[in-house]
Amino acid sequence: MQRYAPWKIISIFALILAAFLLIIPSLVGKDSVTRLQSHLPSWVPARQIVLGLDLQGGAHLLLEIDRTDVLKSMVLNLRDQVRGVLTEEKVRPPAVTQITRGWQARVPDPDQRARVLSKLNALAAPTGGLAAGGGSPTYDVKDVGDGSIQVTVTDAGVNDRVRHAIAPSIEVLKRRVDALGTTEPNVQQQGDDRILVEVPGLQDTTQLKELLQGTAKMVFRLVAQPGADPSEYDVLPSTEGGTVNVEKSVMVDGEDLIDAQPSIGQDGNPVINFKFNIRGGQKFAAVTADNVGRQFAVVLDNKVITYPVIRTPILGGSGEISGHFTSESANNLAIQLRAGALPAKLSIVEERTVGPGLGEDSINAGKKAAYVGAALVVIYMLITYGIFGVFANIALAIHISFIFASFVLLGSTLTLPGIAGIVMTIGMAVDANVLIYERIREENHAGRSIIASLDAGFTRAFATIVDSNATMMVVALILLFLGSGPVKGFAWSLIFGIMTSIITAVTMTRMMIALWYAYARPKKLPI
């Protein structure tokens, strides 16, 4: 056993001290952390370990952009575009009939048909060009023979729309979740068409789900006059029951809203006060001035909330919507209107909610298991290896604090499977020491001197430790890249555990044994 240079011993102690500094904030209560921070120098990151939702309680929702809804709105949009082209080319009548995923138009005149086809083809090219649309057209335009043209939405078109809807959706969801006022909500993209929303501490998800799901597309449209051409209005359901015929053209768009607040109306029921920007205010004033005496409909997500009569022109750009609101639904709607509309409908494809009580129970169970497990291992090592067991146990304690320090340092999330992973790496770390000790015994039994046995034990076992830990590391890394949620948490603790176990089991145990040997000068190996 070589002598250890003082600088080596000092740097190892510095490393251990650093690890302890990192984990101390996690050992004290949540409120003590700020107090602790004031006593420590500013360069010490007094952060606590980030606990997963399974340990602290909270809601985890996975939302997916609803492709059928995207397709539906694209098809609806397409109708106006096709009609536009037909009108431009003076096709009489500019009628289109709906088919699956698109529309069919009759254009009997061949010359006219050729011109319409070329215009529709220009429409079909992805607007973003090759880079954004992947080169495939958004619409499929074809001449079906009998004087008809079919235009349908392609899968590539839907994909393109979904891709473009993700980023603005995340922004809108962030604003909506922030309005809940909970601490550190997390909204992030997952895969191509999904958004993960995590809200720690929240247990009742009813409000959250309601808040997240509505697209909140609000428009103001005039109610159609009796006897109007049915192709010029839509029949929309009303929240008051029945249906309302509303004109297709939009008076004012919800995009022009700058504020919406819930309040109590004159009749004592909840209402929403809204305010337009200058452009919206002017448009609203102009339309209401022209249509005094008619009804206008407030349409939210294709449902008519209310359709009051315009008594006087509404100037000043603000107004009040009274529907059949409860104070909660008025509040939700106001949040949604302020946060803006979602570009597409979202559906919940995965939901996990853990109550804070269960989270606490899980932590306590995990802690208890860790303490008991560690105690069993420590005792077992002591009765098997005596003084060498003491060294192994010290290395083990340092190993565990290194794992927690890694969690703090890298800000990784500790989950319940993560605790299981730590218990697992305790076993793996002990294995490294066992390999070394058994090898030392073996070499000693084969007749080597004490010092030669110690040296041979460490060098020979090291190769095996590297091989076995490397295979384990391969598995852990794959878990990290391929796994989701709980598996990832497990992978992190395995990775941290494997890395630190090599350092502690080999380097630190070796140093302790070297120091012990220099001090005790044993005549016989005590294992």
Binding site: D54, L62, K209, I348, V349, E350, E351, R352, T353, V354, G355, G357, D361, A365, G366, K368, A369, G373, A374, L376, V377, Y380, I383, T384, Y385, G386, L416, P417, I419, A420, G421, V423, M424, I426, G427, M428, V430, D431, V434, H445, T459, R460, F462, A463, T464, D467, S468, T471, M472, V474, V475, I478, L479, L482, G483, S484, G485, P486, V487, L494
Partner: protein, 311 residues
């Protein structure tokens, strides 16, 4: 102080003779596992089967499972699985995709409404059918890719017979673990995938330790017949194997008893995995080297790469 030894000193046990027994037995168990998997199948959790899980705790006293079953069966939401869970006041309610016209969300709300007066919701999970399908794919992919990656690593570090032996042993452990899930009906969820992959890791760890020693002995005793050589190597590592298996076993025992309901199936599977992995590293992987024709005449197939720290 007398130190504890679980393995006798200077063990000389003819492990390799047992291959005539261990191979047919393992083959049989593997086939049974596959048959069980195809016929009985595993008890998939909602992660893989889709559906909703509600975990509730009685606000006071014990949970009345019969009454709950009666209540939820009358909600018209399809088959409801009501089970006691952990402590007597806990109950878990599981159901698949509800009948058409009702979303999983509404179904969950109905159950909560029906029981809300006496029970608190402790956990609610609901996984859509498309997501669960993807989780199955992801899990399978994880297992397959990790085995391939490890195979590549072993191929690089050892002779090919070692890599093949290690993979056969690992597949064996994997199959028997699947069989274990089929027999015990423990819930198979994404945490169980973590358990399976850890078993793969542990199994390889065990195998590598044995193979490492065999390779070392091959260089030391160039003239020894392969059977004897492997026996000597296995005997040399058995004390370590028993020691490590016991330690990990103790840690897992603590997890099973105190770790809570959520990771119990994980820990139980791991315990089984350790047992199988230890067995297969000795009785399946090592004899495989004989069958694969590993020759120990000093001119073995390819010189083993030099190991770090080896003189």
């Amino acid at each position: 102080m007398k130190l504890l030894r679980l393995a006798p000193e200077n063990l000389k046990f003819g492990f390799m003779r047992f291959r005539r027994l261990s191979y047919p037995m393992s083959a049989l168990l593997s086939i049974i596992s596959v048959v069980l998997f195809l016929t009985v199948g595993m008890n998939y959790g909602i992660d893989f089967s889709g559906g909703t899980l509600l975990e509730m705790r009685a606000k006071s006293g014990d949970a009345d499972i019969a009454a709950i079953r009666n209540t939820v069966d009358h909600l018209g939401l399809g088959t409801m699985e009501v089970q006691g869970f952990g402590t007597p006041s806990d109950v878990s309610i599981r159901f698949g995709t509800p009948p058409a016209g009702i979303s999983a969300d509404q179904a969950g709300a109905k159950v909560k409404e029906a029981l809300g007066a006496q029970y608190d919701v402790r956990r609610e999970e609901s996984v859509g059918p498309r997501v669960s399908g993807e989780l199955v794919q992801q899990g399978t992919l994880g297992v397959v890719v990790s085995i391939l990656a490890v195979l590549a690593y072993l191929w690089f570090r050892f002779e090919w017979q070692f890599a093949v032996g290690a993979i056969i042993a690992t597949m064996h452990d994997l199959l028997l673990t699947v069989g274990f899930f089929c027999v015990t009906k423990l819930e198979f969820n994404s945490t169980s995938i973590a358990a399976i992959l850890t078993i793969v890791g542990y199994s390889l760890n065990e195998t590598v330790v044995v193979l490492d020693r065999i390779r070392e002995m091959m260089r030391k005793y160039k003239k020894m017949p392969t059977d004897d050589l492997i026996d000597t190597s296995v005997n040399a590592v058995v004390p370590r194997t028993i020691m490590t298996a016991t330690t990990v076993f103790l840690a897992l025992l603590a997890l099973v008893i105190f770790g809570g309901e959520v990771i119990r199936s994980f820990s139980l599977a791991m315990m089984w995995g350790i047992f199988v992995a230890t067995y297969s590293s000795i009785f399946i992987c090592s004899p495989m080297l004989i069958y694969l024709g590993l020759r120990n005449d000093g001119s073995g197939p390819g010189e083993a790469p030099k190991r770090p720290g080896q003189t």
